[in-house]
Symmetry: C2
Subunit: 180 residues, 2 copies
């Protein structure tokens, strides 16, 4: 749908980084006036709702530099170029948690922040985990701690804001709906 389309008059790339690019577009508004839009380009990402045989959610705690604190989140990672989201999901699960699976179910996708960024996040679910026996395979600048929590523990972590991101709070809702 192109309702209220904002036509691009000109586009300037402000920054080309390793993860994000930043652009400022001059646009023509539906009433003919002009405005500018600040846009972050992101490759997209994948997250996995991974439930163990004893009904716990597999989580990773990691430091989030934009927030200057660590969060407890479901495992996730950026899409590589030309990689299918399901492959990214299995790869990130293996690398970050030491589990793998043959049964990944697509749950949903969503834009995390459509006002300024094009990041699209794909979410998968599995309750059929097996250990990789290979240990973790983290990126060289990646430090995570694997943790497993029951639904009531997750709700307490959300209450104390150690869980505090969109995809993980979505995952908690997903598990509650699945149990209801």
């Amino acid at each position: 749908m192109k309702k209220y389309e904002e036509k691009t008059i000109s586009s300037e790339t402000i920054f080309s980084g390793h993860i994000i690019d930043v652009k400022v577009d001059k646009v023509e508004l539906p009433n003919g006036k002009t405005s500018t839009r600040e846009l972050v380009k992101h490759p997209g990402a994948v997250a996995v709702i991974a439930v163990t045989a004893d009904n716990k959610l597999v989580m990773v705690e990691q430091y989030r530099k934009p927030l200057e604190k660590s969060l407890v989140e479901i495992p996730a990672g950026k899409l590589e170029a030309n990689e299918l989201p399901e492959h990214t999901a299995r790869r990130e699960l293996e690398e970050e948690t030491g589990y793998t699976t043959d049964h990944l179910e697509f749950v949903t996708s969503f834009y995390t922040s459509p006002g300024f960024a094009d990041e699209l996040l794909y979410i998968y679910f599995t309750d059929q985990l097996k250990p990789t026996h290979a240990g973790l395979a983290l990126d060289e600048d990646e430090f995570v701690e694997v943790q497993e929590y029951s639904l009531s523990e997750l709700e307490a972590l959300q209450q104390s804001e150690r869980i505090h991101d969109a995809k993980t709070i979505y995952a908690i809702q997903f598990l509650k709906l699945r149990n209801s």
Copy 2:
């Protein structure tokens, strides 16, 4: 929590925009090595799950330049400097939908994309709406269409990806859990 803290060695502001700022920080990792982090600073935002007397969700359709398409979303807006989130919520509800309320209930907050951005979104709920009789009061570069949908209509819109953002998909789950 500061687990696996990444200490800032230096910080460079790449861009200072109207909505976002972009920084690149050089950091010291937990193992003593260094890396860089690309960070988007955002003022934060507020969204409202607003349910009418006939049990429909109040939505706005608007063009999202980062995605080059329009999405149907729950009403939302950025925090102004020194504004309480609850005030932002009521203001955005009035400006974008023509409804107001005396009963806003805080639901949750979440970081939309903690890997690269510090945007924190506060979500409120109300099912006690009254018309403002003042009409909409949109920003001069803001074009939205107000729509109202039942839960089954929302699920169809999510299926067709006209609803496709984190806060609105959260809101649909919230309504499902409230009904269950």
